[in-house]
């Protein structure tokens, strides 16, 4: 099936954007899969201590209280590092794993990608120094998650396309801002 969206005016420019059954649709699905695996793998390896004898449990405490010093997110990261590091150490591996899995399955993609972008915001602004410039790998990762949200990437070859067809979502269209 090839579905052609109507031509829309975007800030003064007419745009017709065809996604389904096209290279654009294929590319959106591929980006979703790769972005999902990136976070899934990042989360999984933080649980290395569960199967590698001698591996240290994941700890973000040093990053929170040290590496982020002097950055614009330091008031938040340092507070957490000093008062609730256990929470961050618990949440980051689990969130990365869950976000990655959701993106790979195309399930609740916008909701998952929002939290991916949320985490990447702290990784981007918290990595002090800017030695690699302001447009670096962290910003690219952040923008990938925003791209998943903007395009509703779960609707192309993802489980969200089935969920959105259900009567429940049709009668609660607001959910499309969490799915898709």
């Amino acid at each position: 099936m090839s579905h052609k969206n109507e031509t829309r005016n975007v800030l003064g420019e007419d745009v017709t954007f065809e996604l389904s059954s096209t290279w654009a649709g294929y590319w959106v699905a591929l980006l979703r899969l790769v972005t999902g695996y990136w976070f899934f793998h990042a989360g999984l390896t933080k649980y290395a201590n569960l199967w590698y004898a001698g591996a240290e449990p994941f700890s973000a405490t040093g990053w929170l209280t040290g590496a982020t010093q002097g950055t614009i997110v330091a008031p938040i990261t340092v507070w957490f590092g000093q008062n609730a590091a256990w929470f961050v150490n618990l949440v980051i591996p689990f969130a990365e794993l869950a976000i990655g899995l959701a993106l790979m399955l195309g399930l609740l993609v916008r909701f998952a990608a929002f939290w991916g972008a949320f985490l990447m915001t702290f990784f981007y602004f918290g990595n002090a120094g800017w030695a690699h410039g302001f447009v670096n790998g962290d910003l690219m990762g952040l923008l990938l998650f925003v791209t998943m949200i903007v395009l509703g990437a779960g609707r192309v070859m993802g489980l969200d396309s089935y969920l959105e067809a259900t009567d429940f979502v049709q009668t609660h269209p607001r959910l499309k801002y969490l799915l898709g």
């Binding site: 099936m1 579905h3 969206n5 109507e6 031509t7 829309r8 005016n9 975007v10 800030l11 954007f17 996604l19 389904s20 059954s21 649709g25 959106v28 950055t71 614009i72 929002f114 915001t121 602004f125 120094g129 800017w130 030695a131 410039g133 302001f134 447009v135 910003l139 925003v146 949200i149 903007v150 395009l151 509703g152 990437a153 609707r155 192309v156 070859m157 396309s161 089935y162 959105e164 067809a165 049709q170 269209p173 607001r174 499309k176 801002y177 969490l178 898709g180």
Partner: protein, 97 residues
């Protein structure tokens, strides 16, 4: 036709402008003014040979505020809900709504 709301336009223009200003515009200006690196450049002896014109904090805040505008627009759209005419079923595989 267009289905952009005022919030959409504001998010696109203001959010995009702030992010592009913090990354691309000030980056190019920084390079033209003599230092392509966003941080001070030192030689082997550790002496600073090139400083930055725009503080990194200023560029970081510009980018962060741009993203904040996008976030607020996204949350507003979630709370405001889907416009009635767009709440109908789209063909499976249709993205970008």
């Amino acid at each position: 036709m267009t289905d952009l709301t005022t919030v959409d336009r504001l998010a696109m223009l203001l959010g995009g402008a702030l992010v592009v200003l913090g990354t691309v515009v000030l980056g190019i200006l920084e390079a033209l003014l003599g230092n392509p690196s966003p941080v001070p450049v030192t030689n082997e002896a550790g002496a600073v040979v090139a400083t930055t014109t725009f503080p990194v904090e200023v560029r970081a805040y510009l980018i962060a505020f741009g993203m904040l505008v996008w976030l607020i627009a996204g949350v507003y759209k979630l709370i405001a809900g889907v416009p009635r005419e767009r709440g109908t079923a789209a063909p499976r595989g249709t993205a970008a709504e």
